[in-house]
């Protein structure tokens, strides 16, 4: 692993200039390394962060990766990680014109990392440095505690999707003008609604009264407002003070909850486990935005590498080479879904919508297909619109808002189904639906979505931890439940219960399963799993 040579670095700097001129923004410094394929196989399980803590499961994956590589050798061009400065990895045998394309792709990613608000919490520090220090902490612990460090790592990783990423993110967005005092929050959010159960009309009057007070006197408005409140509800102050002393219970972040509330982890001899949990939690939260912006991020990078490459004067004569590589990356597969291709086409669509003014009310109220097709208000706001979306959207919103029938028609998209023909024993791939709603649902269903599991401390008996899985139409992978709960029980130091929903599938009789696939009857039931002393039991509610 070594830095790219000066010649190549100069190409990169040239790309940076042109990308900046096109409107992308990113920090000046970046590190580019030459790596071998073997390096990349070794880095992959560590999400390309060379300094990520050592863990045996990574070793297993490296061995597996090498086995696969032996059977199916492949040659990756590059990959980029979101650090300060951003680091990207390259193969050493790329020709210059290809590097130009790849650098633009990488700069697209870097611009995305540094401007998309879902990455907001990663902006202020260098994760590789942080990871190196974490790695040393874990190595040190391993020297003292031996394999138990790995068990704790394993248990921590088994729940590292149950972190409240959005809770972590939301305070970072608070605009100064919306900041309010905790007294005010308590009064309106809890006191009036929960304790006094004020009717809506009264409540709104109170809001209006507050706004009036602020309008009259910006500095002292709140004090004046509360003077009246105290006169009306003398108990309000006492309630507020009391509420401040009540410790807020973390309901959606199981990892944080365990760190803060587990009596087992609070014991002197177990304190070290908390640091392991913290490391795993921090790492998980760091990577959450990556996984939630896959289609956008790849689409954005592909959009820009195409756009910038084609106007780059340094690559004259390699247009055909470029076209071949680029098509491989961004072609829509006949069957399957390529996030590069999908994301890039959506970006082009949005740019066009912005340019033609198809983003406003006037366009959206049109229902005539021809009129929609030829609508052009010549708004010329494509770039502005695109950059705004790049900053504010994640995959979920991107797909939900922008995949429409115009889009799927334009690119001939459909949902592919796969069904069994039992007589000939073949899988048939067929066009299942060309409806944009179906296509959108199919894409949304494939997005990352950790289950919504909440902690209900009031429901656990005698130190038991009670977890409630809110049903969203999908059940949990049942064979994973046992081992995950073993880990949670260990970290909690007492038995654990998990309430969840499970499918009961009724086999329909008489259907051949070929013509017009019949959906079998699925009913859902609530069940509770209990993990006590490493023994799992299940009970139907």
């Amino acid at each position: 692993m070594e830095l790219i040579n000066q010649h190549t670095k100069a190409i990169m700097e040239g790309c940076k200039e042109r990308a900046r001129a096109a409107g992308l923004t990113f920090t000046d410094e970046s590190l580019e390394y030459i790596v071998t394929n073997r390096d990349l196989i070794e880095l992959s399980p560590k999400v390309m962060i060379p300094t990520l803590y050592d863990y045996w499961v990574h070793d297993v994956e490296v061995l597996r990766g090498k086995g696969e590589y032996e059977l199916y050798p492949h040659n990756p061009y590059e990959t980029v990680i979101n650090t300060r400065p951003p680091i990207s990895f390259y193969n050493d045998n790329n020709p210059d014109w290809l590097n130009v394309m790849i650098f633009y792709h990488v700069l697209g990613h870097i611009d995305f990392f540094q401007n998309n608000l879902y990455f907001r919490h990663t902006w202020e520090y260098d994760f590789t440095g942080q990871a190196l220090s974490d790695k040393r902490v874990i190595a040190k612990l391993r020297a003292e505690k031996g394999r138990w460090v790995d068990y704790i790592l394993e248990f921590a990783r088994s729940i590292d999707n149950l972190v409240a990423y959005h809770d972590e993110l939301s305070p970072l967005f608070m605009a100064p003008e919306t900041a309010t005092s905790s007294r005010l929050d308590y009064y309106f959010d809890v006191f009036l609604q929960v304790e006094k159960k004020l009717p809506v009309g009264e409540y709104l009057k109170e809001v209006a009264r507050y706004n009036g007070a602020i309008a009259q006197n910006r500095e002292e408005g709140e004090r004046i407002f509360f003077a009246e409140v105290t006169a009306k509800y003398p108990e309000m102050e006492a309630h507020f003070t009391k509420s401040q002393n009540v410790k807020r219970v973390e309901r959606r972040d199981l990892m944080k909850f365990l760190v803060e509330n587990s009596e087992f982890l609070a014991r002197d001899e177990n304190q070290w486990m908390r640091s392991v949990l913290e490391v795993v939690r921090k790492t998980s939260i760091f990577f959450q935005p990556q996984i939630r912006t896959k289609i956008m991020n790849e689409g954005w990078a592909s959009y820009w590498h195409e756009k910038l490459f084609l106007v780059d004067d340094r690559i004259k004569g390699h247009e055909v080479d470029f076209a071949r590589v680029h098509a491989g990356v961004t072609s829509m597969p006949r069957v399957g879904m390529n996030p590069y291709a999908l994301g890039m086409r959506l970006m082009y669509q949005l740019k066009e919508n912005g340019d033609k003014g198809k983003t406003g009310y006037e366009f959206n109220r049109l229902s005539d297909r021809e009129q929609r097709k030829h609508f052009d208000a010549a708004a010329g706001k494509g770039d502005e619109y695109l950059f705004k979306i790049r900053s504010n959207y994640c995959d979920y919103l991107f797909i939900k808002d922008f995949i429409d029938q115009d889009f799927t028609n334009r690119y001939d998209l459909f949902v592919t189904g796969k069904r069994l023909d039992p007589q000939r024993m073949v899988w048939q791939y067929y066009v299942k639906s060309r409806d944009a709603n179906d296509y959108r649902d199919m894409v949304l269903a494939s997005l990352y979505h950790p289950p919504h599991i909440e902690i209900a401390p009031e429901r656990g008996e005698e130190g038991m931890l009670y977890l409630v899985h809110h049903f969203e139409g999908k059940q949990l992978v049942s064979e994973y439940i046992a081992n995950t709960l073993v880990g949670i029980e260990y970290l909690w130091g007492a038995p654990v219960q998990l309430e969840t929903s499970e499918a009961v599938i009724e086999q329909q009789r008489g259907s051949s399963g070929r013509e017009g696939v019949e959906e079998p009857e699925i009913t859902w039931q609530r069940v509770v799993y209990t993990m006590k002393e490493k023994v799992l039991s299940r009970q139907i509610l």
Partner: protein, 453 residues
């Protein structure tokens, strides 16, 4: 190749027992073949998750030399040991050792052994769907709703490439499939002499990451000493340091480029290495049980070395009848048959030539294992012994296995080896093991102990 018929005539002229001549005649019949191939399913993208797409997989191109998985055998063993410990600590085992299969022609697939494990989490199960429905994914192009656009046989190759391990059947003597486990089992039964350190020149694949590279302007950790040096250099050239004896740092200018950071770099580790020559007599007389025995023993030695040296071992395979040739892999080595006479000296000579030509003796610990039925047309070992003496000047160990045919005893090779006195004079370097063609596996292992203990 020298004409064996003519050579036989020459030997006959010197005087040859009729039963030996009959056996030599029998040797002149046999064949050998090898095949490998490559294939993938029609829609490999179908079941790929959105997150299986990444810059690595998508922006990909040409092929490179594969890296044998054996290089990490030792790591795998450590993992398995860890897994056993898990059980003792009261948690279920988590590592499964499975095989990846690349289907090939005629049912001969290429197999590698890989470990795998799952990190269990509470996640949604996307598989709850109607039976017979294989899920859905995107698609693009022409076609009415309901139109079938492609088909795939349910049972064809068994698995999609890269799919879960632990499935499929290996060929009977597929090296990749069982070498590792075999090596592990064998190791528990016997130990070999320690490896002499020699020529640590090839890098081993063990890498560590550390902050060793330097970069100006940005990086992970500021290198204070180097930065200070740069600042001083800058200021000398700026003329801010007229007198080195009287340094006034308050006048120094500090350019951002003066800051030197240490950044990550991969550090290589070096390990010693071994070169093993496997020699096998593949003449006509080696048919049946004898080949089986010799090859089995070589499989075991090969496995053991893979395991013991964590992959830092290279193997060369040499087949001989009256003439020796090198073959590329164990598969060919194992499966080849030929009709022809036997001349052990040719194989020894080839080993010497290779070692000399490639200057292997300087950098490698060399092991030579020779398997034969003991027949040698060079009855007195007049040609073999000088070559053998040459080999003994550089090897760490040479082992000769003789699998005797039923009814024969004290074969030519055994006799001339014994008479040469080398077995007695150099027991550290040369070993011989004679077994009967009906020997059981336990006996074969016993033989390995004799050869390498």
């Amino acid at each position: 190749m020298t004409n064996p018929e003519r050579y036989l005539e020459e030997l006959k002229a010197k005087g040859l027992a009729p039963e030996r001549e009959a056996r030599f005649r029998e040797e002149l019949a046999g064949r050998w073949q090898i095949s490998t191939a490559d294939r993938r399913g029609p829609f490999p993208d179908f079941s790929r998750s959105l997150y299986a797409w990444h810059d690595l997989a998508v922006l990909q191109d040409q092929e490179r030399v594969p890296n044998p998985y054996q290089l990490h055998m030792k790591a795998l063993d450590e993992l398995l040991e860890r897994d056993r410990q898990r059980e003792k600590d009261g948690f279920p085992r988590k590592i499964r050792v499975g095989r990846l299969i690349k289907p090939g022609k005629g049912g001969k697939g290429k197999i590698v052994v890989v470990p795998s494990t799952e990190e269990e989490k509470l996640i949604h199960d996307p598989t709850i769907r109607p039976p017979g429905e294989g899920g859905s994914t995107g698609g693009s192009g022409k076609g009415e709703e309901g139109e079938v656009i492609g088909e795939q046989k349910v049972r064809e190759t068994g698995e999609e490439p890269g799919q879960g391990p632990g499935q499929g059947e290996g060929e009977a003597h597929e090296m990749g499939a069982s070498a590792y486990e075999l090596g592990r089992v064998l190791t528990e039964q016997f130990q070999l002499p320690n490896l002499k350190e020699k020529g640590k020149k090839r890098s081993f694949t063990r890498y560590i990451y550390d902050l060793t590279d330097r970069n100006r302007g940005s990086g992970q950790v500021l290198d204070k000493k180097a930065t200070l040096r740069k600042i001083v250099e800058t200021n000398i050239s700026l003329g801010n340091l007229p007198d080195p004896a009287d340094m006034d740092p308050t006048r120094f200018l500090i350019s951002p480029r003066d800051k030197v950071y240490r950044i990550f770099s991969q550090e290589k580790d070096y390990e010693p290495q071994a070169m093993v020559f496997f020699l096998r007599d593949y003449s006509g007389s080696m048919a049946g049980k004898v080949t089986e025995l010799v090859a089995t023993q070589h499989v075991m030695i090969y496995s053991w070395l893979l395991y013991q040296y964590a992959g830092q071992v290279e193997s060369r395979f040499i087949l001989h009848d009256t003439e020796a040739k090198e073959v590329p892999d164990f598969d060919t080595y194992y499966n080849s048959r030929v009709a022809g006479g036997t001349e052990v000296a040719s194989a020894y000579k080839l080993v010497n030539e290779i070692v000399e030509k490639e200057n292997l003796a300087a950098d490698y610990n060399i092991y030579v294992f020779h398997g034969t039925d003991g027949d040698d047309w060079d009855t007195g070992g007049d040609k073999s012994i000088p070559e053998l003496v040459k080999i003994l000047s550089y090897v760490s160990r040479m082992g000769v296995t003789i699998a005797e045919h039923a009814g024969t005893q004290w074969t030519e090779v055994a006799r001339y080896l014994e008479n040469s006195g080398l077995l007695r004079d150099k027991p550290d370097l040369l070993r011989m093991d004679i077994m009967h063609e009906d020997a059981e596996e336990a006996r074969v292992i016993e033989g390995i102990k004799r050869l390498i203990s």
